[in-house]
């Protein structure tokens, strides 16, 4: 830990410069840090990530979470929903791109935004009419819980979610709706034990919301064929060709 003082000085100077440029107070934890002390995230990390590849944190639009705080009572953000490819639901690994959520989001959002049909009209929320326009909706979750459309959707405004206390939440705030019953999951989600954080362990904490992974009408994970199984026996050289 007896680093050359020059290096520390340079390090501090550089960091202070960076931090000031970003309008943050420089932290003094560059010095030998006792366990527990941490270098707080410099926002340059996120900027660095953004330049690296499309779709990573720097380009993700996010909004602060209302009503929950993350570990250490720190505020955090949720990624905003969008059907655009850079919305952050695909990531580049080496030379391949992989979806990072349980369900493929853009397909499920083929009818989004709701106002494209429901503009200015009050929604008739009758169970039997669902099949007409929303054939993609398999209402497993409502069927099992005895819910109807209006249990979650605001009848007066289809773009809003209805909470039990009469308040309204936007579609990007599904955690407020789901968390009403699934409070344990919501706590874990806020803490980091449930859900997905996007891109960095460091830098601003942006997480995905409930509906990014769970289809709200059919929330259980869908089964699928996994990526190829490992080859237990080693490839022998004569196996070539």
């Amino acid at each position: 830990m007896n680093r050359t003082p020059v290096a520390v000085a340079i390090g501090c100077a550089v960091f202070a410069g960076l931090a000031c440029a970003c309008g943050e107070r420089p932290h003094a934890v560059w010095q030998a840090s006792p366990p527990g002390a941490v270098r707080t995230v410099d926002s340059t990390t996120a900027a660095l990530n953004a330049t690296r590849e499309p779709g990573v944190l720097g380009t993700v639009q996010a909004a602060p979470v209302v009503g929950w705080t993350g570990p250490g009572n720190r505020p955090f953000e949720v990624a905003l929903r969008s059907s655009a490819p850079e919305a952050g639901h695909t990531r580049q690994f080496g030379t391949i791109a992989l979806p990072i959520a349980l369900r493929n989001r853009s397909a499920a959002l083929s009818q989004y935004p709701c106002t494209s049909c429901h503009a200015g009209r009050k929604v008739v929320m009758v169970e039997k009419r669902i099949g007409d326009a929303h054939q993609n909706i398999k209402a497993v979750h409502p069927a099992r819980t005895g819910a109807v459309c209006s249990t979650c959707h605001a009848p007066e405004n289809v773009a809003l979610l209805a909470l039990v206390d009469g308040k309204r939440a936007t579609m990007d705030e599904s955690y407020r709706l789901c968390g009403q019953c699934h409070f344990a999951q919501a706590d874990a989600w806020a803490g980091g034990g449930h859900g997905k954080r996007l891109d960095g362990w460091q830098g601003r904490r942006v997480v995905m919301v409930c509906t990014d992974c769970h289809d709200p009408h059919k929330p259980a994970a869908q089964s699928r064929i996994p990526f190829r199984a490992p080859q237990i026996e080693r490839t022998r050289s004569h196996d070539r060709e």
Partner: protein, 429 residues
């Protein structure tokens, strides 16, 4: 001043011989060439040409290595009485045993080198320009003890032979301290190699306190057994005298060690199978197989059968004293220990893997050829060493610069008694 004629005489002893000698050396050379070719294939394509895998990452090479360390260490059983306890009987045998140690060590080091994936980087082991992770890594210890033991076993016999060649009595003060070192060292090479395996908590099959003692027991079985056969051959083929007492004592050592070895095997089996735990699964694979995987089962039972048969034969006095029984028993024991300690010790440690996956191991032709080549190399080295040592010890080869140059033969009659007075290294004055 005698060095040049010594080397020339050694060269001529090693290169001259009857037809059988040349056929023997020729076939060894041929096998070595085959091994060299196989190794070149391995160098070109990587260790992928062997039967090894991420699951069974050590195989035939390291198996032979662990076995041969035992053979090398066995020289101590002769060195100890001959030089330090001044037991008359072993005087003639000890140089041969040291030749066995040298040959075994050459094989050991060769097996380690051929097992390296990146042999060009082996200079990284050299302290100074490389980085030897000593004392933390047991492999670093092994590198040191093996090379040290090789040096000891080269230098001491060289000094004694050279002194005899130059017509001097070797100076006890000069070599006896090194003899003490060599005795400790012999035990250490064995224990270090055992600890190399026993120190791995990842492999419960090896991670047992019994491993070190078992290594020693098997070493003192296989080593003297090999030396007995070698000495018997030398006595039959040359005029070099080896007293009957030598065989009797060596056979006794072999017998006791073989018994101890069996006791330890039984203890191991009881521990693993009376109450089989998770940690006994490798032993289960070795002795009984797991499902359709049972490649080692016939080997280990063969080894146990050979060991038990040979040990029982050795335990019967009339049989042990009769060379017709002693020689086959020793050879059987040697093979039995080779299977038990080579194949039956290293390979099952890897099957199943720490995550419970079972991949079996089957050596390829490359491994078999390289292994055969290294054994041929070891036998070659052994033959050359014995060949060089014999004329000197028989008094046939003597430095031409010796004063009062009567032919050596007349000075040293081949009576055992006379030789003892003159040549015996540790005789007190």
């Amino acid at each position: 001043m005698h060095l040049k004629p010594f080397l020339l005489s050694a060269l001529s002893s090693a290169t001259s011989g009857g037809r059988r000698y040349h056929v023997w050396m020729g076939s060894l050379t041929l096998i070595m060439l085959l091994g060299a070719y196989a190794y070149s294939v391995q160098l070109r394509h990587g260790l992928g040409v062997t039967g090894l895998s991420d699951h069974v990452s050590w195989g035939l090479y390291i198996s032979n290595f662990t076995f041969l360390v035992g053979l090398a260490a066995a020289a101590v059983i002769l060195v100890l009485p001959a030089y330090i306890l001044e037991d008359v009987d072993f005087g003639h045998a000890v140089l041969m045993a040291e030749a066995v140690a040298v040959a075994a060590l050459v094989m050991c080091l060769s097996f380690v080198v051929v097992d390296l994936g990146n042999p060009l980087a082996s200079w990284h082991l050299l302290p100074g320009i490389g980085h030897l992770n000593w004392p933390r890594s047991l492999l670093a210890w092994d590198v040191i003890v093996l090379n040290g033991y090789l040096a000891l076993n080269l230098i001491i016999p060289f000094y004694i032979l050279y002194s005899h060649y130059a017509g001097r009595t070797p100076d006890k003060k000069k070599y006896l301290p090194w003899m003490y070192v060599a005795v400790m060292w012999a035990v250490s090479i064995h224990l270090v190699t055992a600890f190399l395996l026993a120190g791995l908590p990842a492999r419960p099959f090896w991670n047992t306190a019994l491993l070190g003692p078992r290594f020693l027991a098997s070493a003192f079985t296989a080593g003297p057994a090999f030396v007995i056969v070698l000495l018997w051959f030398i006595r039959r083929e040359t005029s070099y005298e080896i007293a009957d007492g030598t065989f009797a004592k060596l056979a006794l050592v072999t017998t006791v060690a073989a018994q101890v070895n069996l006791v330890m095997l039984v203890s191991e089996l009881f521990y693993k199978f009376y109450w089989p735990t998770e940690h006994g699964i490798n032993a289960r694979y070795l002795f009984f197989g797991l499902g359709e995987h049972h490649a080692l089962v016939p080997w280990i039972w063969t080894a146990i059968a050979l060991n038990v048969l040979a040990t029982v034969a050795l335990m019967i006095h009339p049989l042990r004293r009769n060379p017709r029984w002693l020689m086959p028993a020793c050879a059987t024991l040697f093979v039995g220990i080779w299977i038990e300690k080579g194949i039956g010790l290293v390979i099952p440690g890897f099957i199943p893997s720490p995550l419970g996956e079972i991949v079996e191991y089957r050596p390829t032709w490359v491994e078999l050829c390289v292994t055969a080549g290294i054994w041929a190399l070891g036998l070659f080295v052994l033959t050359v060493l014995v060949r060089v040592a014999l004329p000197i010890e028989l008094g046939e080869a003597r430095s031409p610069y010796l004063e009062a140059g009567p032919p050596a033969r007349t000075v040293r009659p081949r009576s055992t008694r006379a030789r003892h007075e003159d040549v015996r290294p540790v005789r007190t004055r």
